[in-house]
């Protein structure tokens, strides 16, 4: 009973060690670094969040306007701002994309 328990415990320990070591066993040698987005990547992510936020807000505003929660006046005054925000984000994204394309073409 005791030995069976100890054998099982040892097996568990070995299995755990093997499982933990697996990432090293599978592709020894080559170390692929964790991808961290660079500065440009972060900026782009922020812009994308901005764009999605504006687009989602536009969609919700349309819906609220249709259900009558937002009056015509309020709708008119807010919809312009949101469209502008979405357009700004899109434009900035385009510009960024253009830049990074150039950058990658210049790269090795």
């Amino acid at each position: 009973m005791l030995t069976a328990a100890l054998v099982l415990g040892a097996l568990l320990a070995v299995a755990a060690v093997w499982f933990v070591a697996r990432p090293f066993l599978r592709n020894p040698g080559s170390e692929e670094p964790l991808v961290e987005p660079d500065r440009a990547g972060r900026e782009r992510l922020a812009l994308e969040e901005e764009r999605d936020r504006a687009l989602a807000a536009l969609k919700e505003l349309e819906f609220d306007h249709r259900t009558g929660k937002v009056s015509d006046d309020d709708y008119r005054s807010i919809v312009g701002e949101l469209r502008r925000a979405a357009a700004d984000a899109l434009r900035a994204l385009d510009r960024g994309r253009g830049r990074s394309d150039v950058h990658s073409r210049e790269g090795p």
């Binding site: 009973m1 005791l2 069976a4 328990a5 100890l6 099982l8 415990g9 040892a10 568990l12 320990a13 299995a15 755990a16 499982f19 933990v20 070591a21 697996r22 990432p23 090293f24 592709n27 170390e31 692929e32 670094p33 964790l34 991808v35 961290e36 987005p37 990547g41 972060r42 992510l45 922020a46 994308e48 969040e49 901005e50 999605d52 936020r53 989602a56 807000a57 919700e60 505003l61 819906f63 609220d64 249709r66 259900t67 009558g68 929660k69 937002v70 009056s71 006046d73 309020d74 807010i78």
Partner: protein
């Protein structure tokens, strides 16, 4: 085989330590294989905890009294379900359950979220590892469930008050809730550590928080129902420190679930959301500490174990560590947008947050006041029901009102004209309902009347929201009403699931107000044949009967219940006497009227030698709405939790690109 259990826990401890060290090192030096290996360690830790749990369950099931834990918490004749449920009947087993659930959540988070962002998960793993290492340290060195002894002939048995079906489901649900709050905490810390404070951690966390919050809420309601049926004083919540301990993290998580929407839609409240996640997790640790350390007197006095100081130290470490980290990352959390108007959806969320956090902190203050006053004045001063009830009313009623206002106010800003138009119907409905209630005599309790009027307002709002949404959807897609309704909910699960949860809270409020503000009770000593009048009920005591059950003498009174001249029920409140345990338990009789939601609650308080009984009858109006609220709450939470394929795709496009293809 206790050795296997012990070995599995040691392995688990080693794995979690490795996950911490390798995880931090791998994330810091950006070594992908090291980070992956730490993730695997967390998965393997779950497997080891599972092995240990199976060993303990098997021992409980086989009544292996060589295990000290089994001998202390079960006995031979205990039914099998209770034997197995004794897993969480004691301190050591409860800690093992914490560890099992924690590593389970950790493994699930690794498997489900690792595609969403590798470098975020790389930082999340060591944070989860720290918490898991703390708990495995406790079960290995301080409170091991695998202590052995010379096998006893029989165990000490399970306390009779725990022998209830609720014991099988209430504690694990609460633990799923408590422990689940670790995952959002780990993601928040992961985001701060990695310096990646975009919205990804929020996206990954939202659903985990919602799940933990749902379990915590359902667990608490089941606990309330257990208390109501078993403890037998006619109530369901007593502001006991242990009950408060579960309520506080739930309130903090509720605040987070609301304020997180403001961050998603407006990019605001980033620091505040971090603080709420830290608060919720610290409170869940604090709750475990309260129930486990014996520092407070509570009706749930658990073992006064040796783990109190460990917990206190760990809580201090968590709070201090996370706040220092948050402070150092403050520059990254600045938001670009500001609040545009005090009359807007985001503003109502802000008010809601302030009220929820205020309520949470008042309860925290009430719970810790005895300890603080003992330290300061040398005399422990407890605050009781009046304190809590006062603050529940002062913060809870405005919260209820906000639940009706919030959905009607548009994001960004709303002009008075729009407001007038949207508020018209709910407001009129509330006014009519309030007037009707006054006419019906509900004015006997002002808080009750206010609660009901506000509830009517919220219901008006919810119905209006669903109706207008369906109408708009119908006009848009030319669909019949049921289909339009279904697609409305399917397209906006979070919004409409949220409204369903709101409806559940309204039911809860109506139930609480009804049973606490409009209850009636009467106590009398009755001889056989005598009767007692309570409102429109007449209760006639017919006599006593005693039967010998397997392990108890069951004494039951026979009460005929009349209403309007008809005998509507025969009820049998009584007492059980357990000779072996030398324990008496009240067996109350409850008759629920499903039409009005009201309970007739009978207690035989004392059986006298001459055949008379001291008898208490309580009418709890609307109390059944509280249990109904639990079902509606579950429904709303599930609707909200249900994955939205379109949103998943959108987020995958946004964040998936950063990770290399797997």
């Amino acid at each position: 085989m206790p050795e296997l259990g012990r070995a599995a826990l040691v392995v688990c401890f080693g794995l979690t330590l490795y996950a911490v060290v390798a995880g931090f090192w791998g994330a810091h030096t950006r070594r992908r294989r090291l980070a992956l290996s730490a993730q695997n360690a967390l998965l393997a830790a779950f497997a080891s905890a599972l092995v240990a749990s199976v060993v303990l369950l098997a021992a409980l099931g086989r009544s292996d009294f060589g295990f000290t834990y089994v001998a202390q918490h079960t006995s031979r004749e205990l039914p099998l379900p209770y034997k197995l449920a004794s897993f969480w009947g004691g301190q050591e087993g409860s800690l093992l359950l914490w560890l099992l659930i924690l590593t389970g959540y950790g493994a699930a988070a690794v498997l489900l979220d690792r595609k969403a962002g590798r470098e975020l998960i790389a930082w999340v793993v060591p944070v989860l590892g720290i918490v898991a290492a703390f708990f495995s340290m406790l079960v290995v060195f301080v409170a091991s469930p695998f202590h052995t002894q010379l096998a006893a002939a029989d165990g000490a048995g399970l306390n009779t008050s725990l022998q209830s079906p609720y014991f099988q489901i209430h504690p694990p649900l609460l633990y799923l809730g408590y422990v689940g709050l670790t995952v959002p905490f780990a993601f928040a810390m992961g985001a701060l550590l990695s310096g990646r404070t975009d919205e990804r951690w929020i996206v990954a966390t939202r659903r985990w928080t919602l799940a933990a919050w749902m379990f915590l809420g359902i667990g608490q309601l089941l606990g309330a129902k257990w208390a109501y049926e078993e403890v037998g004083w006619g109530g369901y919540f007593a502001w006991d420190p242990v009950e408060n301990a579960a309520l506080m993290p739930w309130l903090a998580a509720t605040a987070f679930l609301h304020s997180v929407m403001v961050q998603e839609k407006k990019g605001m409240l980033k620091v505040w959301n971090m603080l709420l996640v830290i608060l919720a997790f610290s409170l869940s640790l604090f709750g475990t500490f309260l129930t486990r350390s014996g520092v407070l007197s509570s009706i749930h006095s658990f073992t006064e174990g040796s783990i109190g100081p460990w917990f206190l130290g760990f809580i201090c470490f968590v709070v201090a560590g996370s706040l220092v980290l948050l402070f150092r990352r403050l520059p990254l959390l600045r938001s670009k947008t500001r609040l545009e108007s005090l009359v807007s959806r985001e503003a109502t969320f802000l008010y809601n947050n302030l009220l929820l956090v205020a309520l949470c902190l008042t309860i925290l203050w009430g719970v810790t006041f005895p300890i603080l006053s003992e330290a300061v004045r040398g005399e422990s001063v407890t605050v009781g029901r009046p304190y809590y009830d006062f603050f529940l009313r002062s913060f809870g009623l405005p919260l209820l009102l906000l639940m009706g206002i919030g959905p009607l106010v548009a994001w960004r800003r709303a002009s008075l004209r729009s407001l007038g138009r949207t508020f018209l119907w709910p407001f009129a409905f509330a006014l009519v309902a309030g007037g009707g209630l006054v006419a019906a005599g509900a004015g006997s309790s002002l808080p009750g009347l206010i609660a009901y009027t506000f509830s009517a307002f919220v219901i008006g709002t919810i119905v209006l929201e669903f109706a207008r949404g369906t109408a708009a959807r119908r006009a848009l897609a030319d669909e019949p009403v049921p289909k339009a309704f279904a697609s409305l909910v399917a397209r906006n699960r979070r919004r409409y699931g949220g409204y369903v949860v709101h409806a559940a809270i309204v039911l809860l409020a109506i139930g609480i107000a009804g049973s606490s503000a409009y209850d009636t009770s009467h106590t009398a000593r009755l001889a056989p044949g005598q009767s007692l009048k309570l409102r429109d009920y007449t209760l006639v005591y017919r006599g006593l009967r005693s039967t010998r059950a397997q392990n108890a003498v069951e004494t039951r009174a026979t009460i005929d219940v009349y209403r309007g001249g008809d005998r509507i029920a025969v009820m049998h409140p009584g007492k059980n006497n357990y000779p072996v345990e030398q324990q008496v338990s009240n067996e109350v009789a409850i008759r629920s009227d499903w039409l009005t939601g009201e309970d007739l609650f009978l207690i035989t308080e004392q059986v006298n030698p001459n055949g008379t009984i001291d008898f208490k009858a309580i009418i709890n109006p609307l109390v059944n709405l509280i249990w109904l609220a639990g079902l509606v709450f579950l429904l709303g939470s599930v609707v909200t939790l249900w994955p939205d394929a379109r949103e998943e795709r959108r987020l995958a496009v946004r964040y998936g690109r950063l990770a290399p293809d797997t």
